[in-house]
Symmetry: D2
Subunit: 486 residues, 4 copies
């Protein structure tokens, strides 16, 4: 299978190509055409040309287009689920969930495009404005560039495309080179949605071609989801663009002394190991009040060992291989480094964890695959170890006890990241205290750090990002306010 790229409404074959591998089977399952600089430049020109057609759309018409895309995704959801499994190695349950969320993302955009935050501004506050009134209208800020990562090959593309379209901004998307297939399937749906030609391109391409786009003078908005190093560097090369960065973190959860432990365990197993922790808001660190710690650790480790591992196509599988061997190696190296420095892995693969108990029988097959990393619970980790300080982006969770809440808060904050954090407690004063003190974009109470709704404001502080996504909030970045004083 060789997939054309989607250039401003047309499916185009190019000489260059990028091969796509199924992480579980290790087989090449497709090749996608890659854009060179000529094609990326043309995409920009065609996007600029499409702006007047976008501007001419009424909100009702934009809404219909976005709903058409949602319906198209719905109609092909089984196919999309299979594609996400195939290109990302994501267990079926989670792949299916991602498709549902992408549909929701477009549906939300279909509603929000009718609710731009236009304002009437009273200008009569002083005599200088007597008799005048302001009308503040939001319009497309211009052509957007969206760059998205491998881990949500459909929904993180949706989170660029849907708000851009809702804002009537033409958008050029560079999907992950590892998982470009879902984005290209989306183009087939967009192509028949009624969206003006030119307003949407999906261009798998080399890093160099992407770099040219990032620096392109005619692009007004850059929205990037990916690694912190790449993102912050882009900000400096982005010229006059508005920039949104959705980067990563090493999210922490606090399980306070009054927590509902059963609920916390269940949520945090999911938060820690869903999609092998390859999630920006993966629960990487769990801080447990000392009064609960021994029991929590025991049960958490047991539950981690019991997570059904296997072929992502199996309905029962909850963990499978990582995206590629390079990443699995990296995780193993980080674990080894931590163990060398005094940490202990109480569950996990044999090579990193000699005495971890055997996993369930069904796990045996996947365990032989070199890109598989078993759910690994680590104790004794801390500052100076990569699995504590950096974004592990793998199925590794560090547990650590604490004595009082301020100690826990300090541990959460001793990080250069600040995306989301979780707190399990029923105490209003503890919740408010943590909310005031923990430096994150969102504090999730009584759920995992991975909690996200597609319409909620989402994004980090510190090195975790710049700006917010979530349809309504993301739209603001694709819009420009225009004032009429009359």
């Amino acid at each position: 299978m060789r997939k054309a790229l989607f250039l401003a409404g047309d499916f185009i074959e190019t000489p260059d190509q990028i091969e796509v591998t199924d992480p579980y089977s290790g087989q090449i399952i497709a090749a996608v055409c890659a854009a060179n600089e000529k094609i990326t430049a043309e995409a920009v020109d065609r996007a600029l040309d499409a702006q007047p057609a976008m501007d001419a759309l009424s909100s009702g018409e934009v809404s219909v287009i976005l709903n058409n895309i949602a319906s198209g995704l719905q109609a092909r959801s089984a196919e999309l689920t299979d594609l996400i499994i195939a290109e990302a190695g994501k267990p079926r349950l989670y792949a299916r969930g991602e498709v549902s969320r992408a549909i929701e993302t477009f549906k939300v955009a279909a509603e929000e495009c009718k609710r731009l935050p236009h304002e009437i501004i009273d200008l009569e506050w002083t005599s200088a404005g007597k008799g005048k009134q302001g009308k503040l209208i939001y319009r497309s800020a211009g052509v957007a560039l969206g760059i998205s990562p491998f881990n949500f090959p459909l929904n993180l593309v949706a989170h660029k495309a849907a708000p851009a379209i809702a804002a009537r901004s033409p958008i050029i998307l560079k999907p992950s080179s590892v998982t470009p297939l879902s984005a290209l399937l989306l183009t087939e749906i967009v192509a028949v949605s009624g969206l003006p030609k030119g307003a949407f391109s999906v261009l798998p391409c080399s890093r160099d071609a992407a770099r040219k786009l990032v620096e392109h003078d005619s692009i007004a908005v850059l929205s990037f989801t990916g690694s912190p190093a790449v993102g912050w560097n882009m900000k400096q090369r982005a010229g006059k663009k508005k920039v949104v960065l959705e980067l990563g973190g090493n999210a922490a959860a606090i399980v306070h002394k009054d927590a509902d432990m059963d609920a916390a365990l269940q949520k945090l197993i999911m938060g820690g190991f869903a999609y092998s922790g390859q999630v920006c808001i993966h629960t990487q660190r769990i801080l447990v009040h000392e009064s609960l710690y021994p029991r929590f650790l025991e049960r958490y480790a047991d539950m981690a060992r019991a997570i059904p591992a296997g072929d992502p196509r199996d309905e029962q599988t909850r963990i499978s291989v990582m995206i590629d061997e390079k990443n699995a190696s990296r995780v193993r190296d980080w674990l080894a480094e931590a163990i060398d420095s005094g940490a202990t892995a109480v569950t996990g693969n044999k090579d990193t964890d000699g005495d971890a108990q055997k996993s369930a029988a069904m796990n045996i097959a996947v365990e032989k695959i070199s890109s598989y990393v078993a759910p690994t619970v680590v104790i004794g980790a801390g500052k100076g170890m990569k699995i504590w300080d950096e974004e592990v982006f793998g199925p590794v969770v560090c547990l650590r006890p604490y004595v009082d809440i301020d100690e826990a808060i300090e541990l959460v904050n001793e990080s250069r990241f600040g995306l989301q954090a979780a707190l399990f407690s029923d105490s209003r004063s503890v919740i408010e205290h943590c909310f005031r003190r923990i430096e994150v974009g969102a504090l999730i109470v009584n759920d995992a750090t991975t909690f996200r709704m597609d319409h909620m404001p989402y994004g980090g502080v510190k090195d975790s990002g710049f700006g917010r996504e979530g349809v309504k909030y993301a739209m603001l970045d694709y819009l420009e306010p225009r004032l009429l004083v009359c």
Copy 2:
């Protein structure tokens, strides 16, 4: 002292008059001119005439007027405090607080008048509106009538006048016949504030004259604060008017098992006995978790007995006489009825409570005044007793233990009223549960039922009221939306 009434900008002497008595000394301290039907009718005509001048004001000009009134109140705050003490028998600390709050009420209005909730409405949702946009503008709804009670003779007048002026609605105020002096002093300030003549009248008058105003066809808005029976009856006689009713209640507080008892005691002594409970949101019923009940009751009764009673002019006094003997008698009758039905007064006046301990020495003088009712803590009260079911509007607080939170919620709700309630707890889930289940306008957590900020939405459900005050919210009632489709 004989005070003129304020008719549309002019101070007018009338033959009729109402005498004003100092509740503490029992002396007549002033007479105020009373409006007859001719004068009330003229006030309406002059208010209608003032509408164009009001409409012509820019928001900045309205803001200056309201700030002028706030400054005027500030400049005369000592005088106003003394007047409130004199006409209402309100202890100095509370009288001074009322003046501060009235100033704040006008200041808030000076800000909110510049922030009407104008909207731009996207009309392009369907093809029928393509090319059209709506502009929703709020304008004065017309002449307003405000009727206010005795217990906050200045600030409850401010809560009618300030939002009406902010909305550019001429307003006619009928103050309480018992405490009209503060409102008339306010007119002296308004008279030099720059407000267009005719836009403000203060008319002490008989019930009959007031009735004519309530039914007057040219008045667009009626805002009444007072007793439930009078208020609900007015709604039916109000014709085509918009109606706001701020009535009373028998507010309850829950002290849950995890409450901070010291804080709860301190707040609820204030909530129960400030201004002898002559407050719409007076804490009339306190429900205490059984685990805390014995200790709470003991301490609460001790604190009630220790409340400094005396001359309202004394800086130390925290409780004094009630507004008049009729009300004191009514409270005594209700107490007697409750005691007959099995309740027990553990503190209070000797005649209602044989074995209550002696009050502190300073209380002796005031205790001889027949309109004084000492802080009375009652146990064993419940459904069927007026002090439990009706609005006691006196210094009576019923305490009662409960076993689980749903029982407490039921007790709060077994009332035809629903103004405010209080809850002392740090449990997020208990707070949310109570908020969802308790039928009140506002649930106050960890403070007394009497908590009110002048800019917050304030008002009750069930028989306690209709609509909301609090400057921004009250303004909506004096405004009418007007749509321009263009």
Copy 3:
């Protein structure tokens, strides 16, 4: 055909019935069961019982229910169109349009139910609130009663039901006794929408039974669309209910000297004669600048005469019979009265207008039906004539010249009504001047007075109504704010 009524989720046969007549054929086409007082009382009890189930719905669940209703209407739109034609005699084009709008109304509600105007309120403005924050949440205000008229048998029911459901308020609907069939068909759709049982009843009933409902103590909200006399009387009998009145008017349009005459003519022919003027915002009066008047009159009369009249089932028909003979007679009487007083009908039926030209051939059949009133253009009408002063609710349009814009504004305003008005002009200053001076709920620029979008705020001032409909705005009436101070 005998249709059951819809009592709290069940289709119930009753002994009483109301017969429904096809206004065009004069045939009885159905009978509907009528509710007696026992049934209406039961509907209230069942609605109260349904409140907890409604309150328990998440916004997403309410949205699904409302979208299910929209889809159900879509699926049966042909049937609904035929039913509206049959029971209301509404020409097919307009009947079809009404069905589309009812679908839109539910779709809008499916979006707005997720966007209640909850607020966070900063309470730290003064030291009294330091450390506190308010959370203002909107909840169902309780059981609602909707009463709707004959002229939009589906969409005016939708405008009660959709916002009530969106607000999670159980609602009891009394449809017009003349056109109850569409509302009953809607119940079949609601019955399978997932709405909790009890939350929706449609009860055709006698005026007496309806009266009991209007006065029922357990109903919290009354929303009435219908005639001014009935509506204002209801307000006085409504007890403690919130009341919304959508009444009528004698809407006027101004055609200013700089108007685009072709556009004005086309829009105002539609505004004047669509559905025989049986529309609350029917263009009853057209004021034309003297410079355009002669030419405007000539063309308007020609166009009125050319309106295709006939069987409402015909695709081409644009005007047909009125709802019943009683109304047609009334219109004829009013015309006769006006002609007696000096007005002239330049088009219209022979009996009222001796020298009006013959209508087109196709009109002959319908002209023989006694409830048919031909498009009637009147000149020389004015104050003192019912066709000028009152709501004619028939195919009668009065034309009148004016000299300057202030004269036109005065003519618009010399009415006890103020629902909508229209203005044809491109002058910003004229538009703003008219918007400031014309007393109406909405001023429509460059379109007919009949312009309405289902999501826009809609309602009148003066005798035309009380409150606003339009989904988001109507929802506020079915909601009650609840404050949590924490």
Copy 4:
């Protein structure tokens, strides 16, 4: 006079200094201490230390601080006016106006600090969020750096400081080295306002020291007002900071055929020559409909010649010297270049404009000062000439006729800038057409391009800027949203 700088609450003497010259007298009037890199670094540290104290302030306390500053400015307004005249050469009328506006800016901030755009977010849109609610709270984004230009030495400092304080963000200000005195006087007022120490520094400094601040890692927000070249370069060097750029433009006004010519002339003389055009939104280009052009040109030139020039201290003076000779020379060079390329100066200094008429007698003195440039009206200018393409920032206005509105729109848009534009017309359709098509931050109808209210959103598109100021809008840049999911 040697002025200390203001380092985190302390007045500090430093060895380095910057001399301040009175542009009119040419005399050095003061020296101000200059910060070196050690001091700027300390200011950052002290600002970081002040963050907790800022975060601890309630909105009411912040409001009091901001109102204290406003009152302080009011009390010293005469002194401030004189200082602005002295350091900036700004005519008294305009200097006085600037002080009033700075007071207003702080007053607006004192209101807006109580109205952060906190939101409650319904998370129950899908089942994944059932039972959850979001609370979106805005908090200080961290330490801010404000860099402001010479032309509004007080109010452009206020536009950085007031919103930063309102957002509770410590701010370090680098004033213009040419006009630092007003900013330093402001520090005396801030020092006694109650603002926590460390939250405000004013540091005149060298370009190198400023550059270090721009690149400082601990600063979260950079707000720059100044020249486009400097601003856009800063954006690239700003690292992870949020950046706001308020740059310049070559603003154009359209005088359409239906314009009120008297009003247009009066407004555009002010827009063109107030403060010698040293204003970002100075009206640099006027496009006049051909039907009005000859008469407009004649009258505009006459009015330009009649502008009272002279000593800025004189009450009558409306134009005086430019900020310095370098700028005056630049303007003269640009004029010469334009004249060489075919343009004609119909008014102005003799050396650029041989046959311009003599100015009024009072102008003679100022005309001898080399930094004075007389009001210069140019015809025949266009693309390729700096006075048309670039920001002239001097008293030069180009007039040009056009035939149809689209031609005028194209002329406005043939600029790399897009700050504000003006349109004189009463036609609604022309206004809407221009608003849709003209690429600017704000289109001002029937007033000059220089119209600005301090609370209105202000800022440009294209090369004119990035982001918006105006208190409420500027505050968003100093704030960071934080979400609590509960």
